[in-house]
Symmetry: none
Subunit: 212 residues, 4 copies
DNA sequence: TATGAATGAGTTTTCATTCAT
DNA sequence: CATGAATGAAAACTCATTCAT
């Protein structure tokens, strides 16, 4: 949230207050955005939920798009913050990956509305903001890359290091897919089973026991 | 296009004409939607490209959303039509899958703008239209399901038939991901190599040579 | 009006209609602008007088400033059109000037609200529009310049030709001053007497009977 | 400034402080007004230049228009103050007038932005404030009237005393015109030559050597 | 069928002013 | 006295949709 906050100009000087109010704005906006989409949500609605006047909102942002950015950034850092504490891996890479997948996929499940929203509305951001969000996504991916590299080194995984990045993205996408294909997946599977199967598949791909 | 045509009401009686004009409308709209997004494209703009008046557009559709629906449907059937001719599989399931992946992923590459668009704007459709689009997506998936079942039967694939649906979705998503993660994937991989690696991974998952 | 009209883009294709509607818009706007000033007049008010919806106004202009331009241009060409028919001078330069002054000053009197308005709001136009209005003002001035030159040639006026331009501007301004100093002048003088005195003064300046 | 001070109510009791702060406000506002116009300048901007908070500004004025009034008044008294010291005329009326013109026109040149501003924005003042500004303008004019009367008495000028007021206004306007017609005049003349020519013209008008 | 002018509700955004601290 | 966050009315402008021709 910190880095994001700095970029958007505010009329209000008190930085703490800006932080607080922006959090409130995001809180007010996120559900509306998720439910109705960015374009169909009006700033007036957000203000109403925000519990303050429309003028007050515009003291803390410059345009409606700023709110979108704040929301996207909030979602991303929420995911990150939820994931990070679980990511101290003393165990072997295989178990580490298993756990990381479990955590990440669980969080996707919990935050599926938000993940879905990111998929749909990121494109409404301007170039710069979009880049920033992509960067954040890459940071997440790097967590998986690191585990994969460790697994290659210690011999638990058999993939080429050229493929690590792709594999990491595969894992991320296979997780997010639970959100954006929920209309069908969640009819046929429960999250636990979903994680189970996908984990098995992913590990099979990485398995050192076989060549291609 | 057929089923779509049935659902959207038109003032015009002549069914052939409706077909023709709607095709023109889609042709005019699709690029605009892809470039600017659904909400930022105006009906006026579409009419201008369409080469006819706004009034005429509204003879063939009822709302702007109808155009979105026509476009989504068009994209989906374009993909299907491009895929289908390749899908007569006399060969063994393993080769059939290999070929199906190759075809589908190649088409995603060619139509990446459109695929991306579907991901972002489907949510703007109303329930019924959205369902219809999802159904189309499932049809695509079933193609992969069939091959997978065939492979299980003939012993080339070792997965449980409970996992077939999920696996099929995995394949679809791994293909589409080339479009919606292009901002990073296409910096590091070329499409051929991408298909190569992913094919290998997928086949490894399915491989009967190993247990779990 | 012609040249002005061409520059402002309209959504409406029918050029005649554009002409007609714009005339109506100007007619609706001019009094409001004169009475309340440009900034304090809302487009809604203009629409109400215009007798059409606000949407319709925006079919014929792009911005509120366009209306200002249309109005300024209208005022200028009104003055020109009222002046021109009187400006065929067969008589000697002295009488010609006398008559031109009489005509121009009379028109300033009749259109004093408009003249005043131009003085106050021209600056709200953007560079290009402002230039166009200045150009129009110069055209007016040239009429006086021509008469002065003729007077110099035929010996009725004794000023240096270097001073002609300035003298022409003096005459214009001395006329317009009747409008923008009306708060005091019109308390002490009637227009006829005003024209009388100013004419005498101006002619005295030009008199060939004396040196400096 | 004195009379102005009396009219505008302030929350602050300390009269000296009111004087000081208002001078600061004017100093902050005048350039902004001149550059961007009254309506396009925000009170926030003025406050920022003023170096104090918006709240503080509103301790010393009641409305934004009050600032406009203070600024107009400031400009007028600046001109007056700059003119007055030069206006002790022991010499004959002719030389006195020559000098007064020279001084006034020079000051118009120096303060052309401000003069122009007065022409454009005075109308935004309410009736009472506008009257006050007009009064100030008349005071200026009276200086010229006095010289003219003196000239009539001592026989240097030949005009009727009925025409004195008008003549005085002519002189003022011919001076101010250097500001509001600068877009053309300053392309063709330098200020010294401008003063020269205009002085000659004016004196010719007044010359006692001829009748009409 | 085709046209395109007309509509006006609805949107974002601004900014003078207030008032609690 | 000074502050600056909060207010909300009001403004310009857009655009999907209708309907008379």
């Amino acid at each position: 949230m910190d880095r994001a906050t700095k970029k958007i100009k505010s009329q209000v000087k008190n930085k703490e207050l800006v932080e607080i109010r922006r959090r409130e704005i995001v809180k007010a906006a996120v559900d509306l955005f998720v439910k109705k989409g960015f374009h169909k949500t009006t700033v007036r609605e957000i203000a109403r939920r925000f519990g303050m006047s429309i003028g007050t909102i515009y003291e803390y942002i410059r345009t409606k798009e700023d709110i979108l950015y704040l929301v996207c950034d909030y979602i991303h850092s929420s995911v990150s913050e939820r994931v990070k504490p679980f990511l101290t891996f003393d165990e072997n890479a295989r178990d580490a990956l298993r756990r990381a997948i479990n955590i990440y996929f669980s969080i996707v499940d919990e935050m599926q509305d938000y993940i879905l929203f990111l998929y749909q509305e990121t494109k409404s951001l301007d170039r710069e903001a979009r880049k920033y969000i992509f960067r954040a996504e890459e940071h997440m991916t790097e967590i998986f890359e690191k585990i994969l590299y460790r697994g290659i080194e210690d011999g638990s995984f058999s993939i080429s290091s050229d493929d690590v990045k792709l594999m990491a993205h595969n894992i991320m996408v296979l997780g997010q897919m639970w959100a954006f294909r929920r209309w069908v997946l969640q009819k046929h599977y429960k999250i636990d089973r979903y994680i189970d199967i996908q984990t098995r598949f992913i590990l099979k791909q990485l398995d050192s026991k076989l060549g291609v």
